[in-house]
Amino acid sequence: MTAIALRKPSSDTLVGRALNGLLKSPKATIAAVICLLLLLTALIGPWLAPQDPYDLMQISIMDAKLAPGSESMSGGTYWLGTDGQGRDMLSAMIYGLRTSLAVGLVSGIVALGIGTTLGLMAAYFGGRVDTLIMRLVDLMLGFPTILVALMLLATIGQGVGKVMFALVLVQWALFARAVRSAALIEKSKEYVEAAACLDLSKPRILFGHLLPNCLPPLIVIGTLQVANAISAEATLSFLGIGLPITEPSLGLLIANGYEVLMSGQYWISVYPGLLLVLLVFSINIVGDRLREVLNPRLER
């Protein structure tokens, strides 16, 4: 961390401004470090986890529902206890983190791509294109995320791909609205006129010239939306209509612990929950700080 701080990122570029702003707030710096650590944990998870919780050879039903710190049959220690099938909670959580992060990041990025394209088109072409896209945006934003996703999944069934589809569907509108309002301001500036005079192709004007100037709100919303997507996926999985049991995310791990919570086996749902909160909270703190630094005019 000190190495970055010493180099003093230049404050002219967008990334420089964002980094500078993050580093000036100790709270945001800690949150960003936690985000990076969690991301790293997810990436190298299989090498880090004490066991592969989904390899039946490695788990033993004899070890089911052991309290944190118990010894396993084979001599190791379950630092965070085991679940009903005798899986090491720590390993299950690392694998769950991978799934949660992957679903959140992928759906966030796809939604960003679709929303940005539609938002730029709405702003640049105006007229009917604008009306059509913005009506759709209003329609989407008129209903809460969780309700739309729930309805969709209740109709089309569950699965990783379907959950991601639902999350993209409920998120793109936010990006589209933000990009459109930023692009509307940029559109009237001279460089866009100049680009049009040079007879550059429409995609090139949109993505090469308009888009780079609309980035600040996108970065902020993108960050916050990844947190929202992770949270939404966890909620859907908890309700039993998100991810299938074969690909457990943190939400599903928590759901597994729900039934035994009343009988005092708190660790099965408490620890995955704490990890989930840590993840979402850290991302939100970073996003909140980025909003202050880059200061795009956002609601809320």
Partner: protein, 324 residues
């Protein structure tokens, strides 16, 4: 004003129409409607009969017409599980959900506005920082996990509050509510807190930014120059100005509360329509799912319409803005 109302009303009808098409397409066109609308254990003869009775042998346009016609008459099919009209089931469960949502809404205002004022009047202090970080935590705590922790702490460990059901329901002025009995009240606390937490955070942030925008304005300086106490300035003049955005957002958020009640009701076994929805999805009781969907969409359209109307009544600038 009349033009505004008519335009919003026609927009609302359009949304409802679109929703009915999407729902129809979701249930009837994608997948086999026979599997969805007829119980799995039906004999071939029963299936034949049901297909004719439901009109599934006719064209899609005709089917859609029948679907809308029946829906307009309040007939959204019968629940397989309860064997009664699904719309009745929804309406029976609705009061419990609305009660939960209203109490959560009240909680978020009662706690959120003072905390937001407090933070906004002392920007940059440790207090402000704590309240704001707390509100981010409020956004970040997944609703369902936070509910489970409430149960673990207050029901399992401390044993202070019940964790499931609605308790005894009393009656006040002909309205059946849990608020009327002690048992009902204790059952209501945990679910209401669970549902309210997100909105408490939202109201805190809205109030704080409202205060920070309003405090430097001239009328506040004028009130100070007039010698009014700081307390009066804040509680009367500033508050009045920041209430408009809060009322609007909170109005819209009421819809979210009804939606998020699905999660809360599932955790606390609260007998509302959200729990009914999840149970019906699990039991593949499709008619109830369809009925819930249409009822909630209608509810949302009504809420959004009323909020827009209220907003333009409270703040004429909005109405002019939308007309231009």
């Amino acid at each position: 004003m009349t033009v505004f109302i008519i335009r919003r009303l026609s927009q609302s009808l359009l949304v409802l129409f679109l929703t009915s098409i999407i729902v129809f397409a979701g249930i009837y066109a994608i997948g086999n409607p026979i599997d969805i609308l007829i119980a799995g254990d039906a004999t071939p003869a029963e299936r034949e009969q049901a297909i004719r009775a439901l009109g599934l042998d006719r064209s899609l346009i005709e089917q859609y017409g029948t679907f809308v016609w029946n829906a307009l008459h309040g007939d959204l099919g019968r629940s397989f599980v309860f064997n009664q009209p699904s719309i009745d089931l929804i309406f029976n469960r609705m009061p419990a959900t609305l009660e939960l949502a209203f109490v959560a809404l009240a909680l978020s205002l009662i706690l959120g506005i003072p905390l937001g004022l407090w933070a906004g009047l002392k920007p940059g202090t440790a207090l402000d920082e704590t309240v704001m970080t707390g509100s981010i935590l409020g956004f970040s705590l997944p609703n369902f996990w936070q509910g489970m922790m409430l149960i673990m702490i207050f029901s399992v460990w401390l044993g202070w509050l019940p964790s499931t059901g609605r308790g005894e329901v009393g009656s006040v002025l002909g309205i059946h509510t849990s608020l009327a009995t002690w048992s009902g009240l204790t059952h209501l606390i945990l679910p209401a807190v669970n549902l309210a937490l997100f909105n408490i955070s939202l109201v805190i942030r809205l109030t704080r930014s409202g205060v920070r925008e309003t405090m430097p304005l001239d009328f506040v300086k004028f009130a100070r120059a007039k010698g009014l106490s700081e307390r009066r300035i804040v509680s009367v003049h500033v508050l009045k100005n920041i209430l408009i955005p809060i009322v609007t957002v909170v109005g819209v958020e009421f819809g979210s509360l009804v939606a998020f009640a699905i999660v809360t009701e599932t955790i606390f076994a609260w007998p509302g329509m959200g729990k009914l929805l999840i149970d019906s999805i699990m039991r593949l009781d499709r008619p109830v799912v369809v009925a819930y969907l249409l009822v909630v969409v209608t509810l949302f359209i009504v809420i959004n319409f009323v909020v827009d109307l209220l907003y333009s009544l409270l703040d004429p600038r909005i109405r002019l803005g939308s007309a231009s």
